[in-house]
């Protein structure tokens, strides 16, 4: 009995318990509302259904959030990812739209390589601003967030670039082994980032820099290089996400591609358990966070909630997830249920966190 109770408690205490629980509850609520919600059917050798859609649509967010996880782990933040999505999408689409044969695979690959190259340069720009010049990350990336939209507009000459390219469309809508290709791309990126950080010592070094930059420097870590690197990785992830977004609709719109994706990505990272203060990061948690956000968006559409209330609805769910995960909040909640009077002040909670080991 106490053994089972213990196991239950460890389960409750697991980092991913609450995000998973929220996801399950959301899926269940949807199923109640619309019993066919979870149905998946095979048609033409492709799987169709709302769960598959959620996975496919969350792929770009997963990508952006993966890069964001590393940035946040170093104690930084990257607001420019949405603009990078737009720029890379615009460059790829522009190149393809000018090509004589839009279905040519080489043309598409060249376009992708070019756009990715530009994204790496943009990431390097962010990296230099933060690590060499020492501008605060939120300001440094705000520059590109704002200027990047203009850049995307310039590239597209103020137009929406429409293309008709089979291979490019496949990035967003293609299938592999009955499943959308985008899912595999996101999965591959996740595995790559995981291997890149956890198979090498990079992950630990990133966490160390985010946990205590000065101590890391004195331990001989070249913190500057690490910080530079994560912004480049973040931009690369955003570029691939930008390809997916534009491929989905076969057009690039400098104004709207990837709009506000940075906010969703930051939310996904936080829901996944990585602290905005830097330090430990959790890639699995981030992916789960992205899935939660996409499920939420789909739910809002499925339930015909008006767009005005939709954002509010989203906000409420996100606040709930964050609160449930906060140890301080849970402790307070538990204490109150146990009958101890609530604390008279509201500030002690903060105070508590400041007291060191």
């Amino acid at each position: 009995m106490s053994d089972a109770g213990n196991r239950f408690r460890t389960l409750l205490g697991h980092r991913l318990f609450w995000p998973v629980a929220v996801l399950v509850v959301m899926l269940a609520a949807n199923t109640v509302y619309r019993p066919g919600f979870l149905a998946v059917e095979l048609n033409n050798g492709h799987l169709y259904g709302t769960p598959i859609d959620i996975l496919r649509l969350s792929a770009p967010l997963i990508l952006v959030a993966l890069g964001m996880t590393l940035v946040i782990s170093t104690g930084g933040i990257d607001l420019s990812v949405g603009s990078v999505c737009a720029i890379s999408g615009a460059i790829a689409c522009l190149y393809i739209s000018r090509a004589p044969d839009q279905d040519n695979l080489v043309t598409v690959l060249t376009a992708l390589a070019m756009a990715l190259g530009v994204a790496l340069v943009l990431g390097a720009w962010n990296g230099v601003l933060v690590s060499v010049i020492g501008i605060q990350p939120i300001i440094a990336t705000l520059i590109l967030m704002v200027a990047g939209r203009g850049l995307a507009q310039l590239i597209a000459e103020g137009q929406i670039i429409t293309i008709n390219s089979g291979p490019y469309r496949a990035i967003g809508l293609g299938h592999l082994l009955t499943l959308p290709l985008a899912i595999f791309i996101a999965l591959a990126a996740a595995l790559l980032v995981a291997a890149f950080t956890r198979r090498t010592a990079l992950g630990m070094i990133v966490e160390s820099v985010g946990g205590n930059r000065e101590a890391s420097r004195l331990a001989g870590i070249r913190s500057g290089r690490v910080v530079f690197l994560v912004y480049v990785v973040s931009a690369a992830c955003a570029a691939i996400a930008g390809f997916m977004m534009t491929a989905n609709v076969s057009s690039a719109d400098g104004n709207n591609t990837g709009l506000w994706v940075e906010l969703d990505a930051i939310l996904a990272v936080v829901i996944g358990g990585t602290s905005l203060a830097g330090g430990r990061f959790y890639l699995g948690g981030t992916i789960l966070g992205a899935l939660i956000i996409q499920t939420l968006t789909t739910t809002v559409y499925a339930m015909n909630i008006s767009p005005q209330t939709a954002l509010l609805f989203k906000a409420v769910v996100v606040i709930a997830v964050c609160l449930i995960q906060a140890p301080a909040f849970r402790a307070k909640f538990r204490r109150r249920r146990a009958g101890t009077p609530p604390p008279p002040q509201s500030s002690p909670q903060r105070q508590k966190e400041q007291v060191p080991a």
């Binding site: 198979r199 630990m204 890391s216 331990a219 909670q349 508590k352 400041q354 080991a357």
Partner: protein
């Protein structure tokens, strides 16, 4: 005095963390007008008892009464409001706020809702003057040395109209002068009837000021004793649960003969190395296998010398030779490449990475030197980490425990292990025994002797002159950010002579060699 009613009692206190029982059924009482020393080894549960009392942690079992009334604080603020004022073990100030702001944060005087800053600054200056400290109270706290920060934290605590004052290792980075000043104030407060709880690993300080002693061991109460009934040796025995033979070992190793260094080759030679506003240009030679002690008062530039030698600060003049070849020590990476390691005195801000595990903290410097593309194989990591957990008796001996959960002394040992693992040729130790219990201190001193016998050079910085005298072949004396003397540690050198040199700044003629 013993028959007065306790102002504070703790009864049957238990507190567990996942996998660790930090306190088990501990009783504790504090009488008004006494200085009560809480003693125990690293990890015995002293800080936990204090945090449980002030509501930083919840209590699993047991009760706390203040003036006969049961209390359960939800945090330091509430405790302070009830008259329990605390200085925690790790200096806990906001580094980017000014000294005055830090002293009054959370309880600023108000006039018509606004804060009268002039008055705040004036009162801050007065308070610090009580501690004999004359600093710019508008400067950010982070710009001062750890010792000054510790004094600021103390000033903050004694300003509260408290009935109970708790000081968790307040003297760990202070010099004799500051300690004396602090004790004067503690006595004054005690005579006013305030109950003071005092934690330290310095036995002579305990016998210098405490009225009674409570001893903890492994989270359990050993006993409560009037100071007169517990001589030093008996206290040590109670703390560690057996007789201490390392203590004798410390006697065995008075100081070693200087001749040991005569055959040594110069490992690091610096000439006229300096940094404006930090240390005046100095010249220094450190031989392989030599322990060089750095003595001087608080603020004399000891730490600054260490930081220049490690490249933590960049020198703006002077020349460095390692193995006779000219090199630069412009940043820690370069210094580490030359085989230099540096254990900072400020373990919280410049040492541990609180989020990471004991294992990761230990291998960090080695991993950094290898580069991230060549991770240390897990087997090798475990081997190294196990070895040093044993060698330094780090407790709990769990390599995967986040280092933030370790007691202060054990965190210090983890840092030491981080550098020992890199097998440096010159190890710079800035207050390595800060906050470490006497058993472990003797072990670390023994280790320094062993390492230097094995050919490692050690630059040893400590506020404790005895320690410096016991370990060093040569003693470098700092004063007012200048290197004023170098003394070969032979029979003619003793604490008095070093103190005189520190005070007078003479023997300057030797400084240039």
């Amino acid at each position: 005095m013993t028959d007065s009613r306790p102002v504070l009692t703790m009864t049957g206190i238990s507190k567990s963390f996942p996998g660790v029982r930090a306190l088990h059924n501990v009783d504790f009482r504090l009488l008004p007008g006494e200085v009560h020393a809480l003693m125990g080894e690293n990890g015995a549960g002293k800080s936990t008892l204090i945090k449980v009392l002030t509501g930083v942690y919840g209590i699993d079992e047991g009760t706390v009464t203040l003036d006969g009334e049961q209390v359960a604080f939800n945090g330091p603020m509430q405790a302070a409001a009830a008259g329990v004022s605390t200085v925690y073990q790790e200096v806990n100030l906001c580094p980017n706020l000014s000294v005055a702001e830090n002293i009054f944060i959370g309880r600023e005087p108000r006039r018509l809702g606004a804060i009268p800053w002039g008055e705040v600054r004036r009162r801050a200056r007065q308070l610090l003057a009580r501690l004999d400290l004359d600093i710019d109270v508008t400067a950010p706290v982070g710009s001062f040395s750890l010792a000054v920060q510790q004094m600021v934290a103390i000033a903050r605590a004694i300003d509260v109209q408290a009935r109970v004052l708790i000081l968790d290792e307040p003297t760990s980075s202070l010099d004799a002068g500051e300690v004396a000043q602090l004790f004067r104030i503690m006595r004054q407060l005690r005579d006013e009837g305030i109950a003071i709880l005092f934690v330290t690993h310095f036995l002579d300080q305990v016998y210098g000021i405490a009225d009674r002693i409570t001893v903890l061991r492994n989270g359990a109460l050993v006993g409560e004793y009037p100071i007169a009934e517990l001589p030093q040796l008996a206290l040590v025995e109670k703390m560690i649960g057996k007789e201490l033979d390392v203590l004798e070992l410390m006697e065995e190793h008075p100081r070693q003969s200087v001749t040991a260094t005569e055959g040594g080759s110069p490992l690091v030679q610096v000439s006229q190395l300096g940094r404006r506003g930090s240390v005046a240009p100095f010249s220094l030679t450190i031989n392989a296998g030599e322990v060089v002690g750095l003595a001087g008062l608080l603020g004399s530039g000891r730490t600054e010398v260490a930081r220049l030698l490690f490249g933590a600060d960049r020198a703006d003049r002077g020349e460095v030779r390692v193995d006779g070849a000219r090199t630069g020590l412009r940043n820690p990476v370069q210094a580490i490449e030359q085989g230099i390691g540096f254990c900072s005195e400020n373990r919280r801000a410049e040492g541990i990475i609180a989020d990471l595990s004991v294992r990761e903290n230990m291998i960090l410097a080695m991993q950094a030197a290898r580069g991230w593309l060549r991770p240390i194989p897990r087997r090798r990591q475990d081997e190294l980490v196990d070895r040093y957990i044993k060698a330094l008796s780090i407790r709990p001996a769990n390599p995967e425990m986040p280092v933030r959960n370790l007691s202060g002394g054990n965190q210090q040992k983890v840092l030491l292990a981080r550098w020992l693992i890199t097998e440096p040729r010159l190890l710079i130790l800035d207050e390595p025994t800060r906050g470490i219990d006497i058993g472990a201190k003797a072990e670390i001193q023994k280790l320094v002797v062993q390492l230097s016998d094995g050919g490692m050079a050690v630059l040893f910085i400590s506020a404790e002159l005895e320690e410096v005298l016991r370990l060093s072949h040569r003693i470098v004396v700092m004063r007012d950010r200048q290197l004023v003397a170098q003394l070969d540690n032979d029979d003619t050198v003793d604490a008095d002579r070093v103190m005189q040199t520190i005070a007078s700044g003479t023997e300057r003629e030797e400084a240039s060699r």
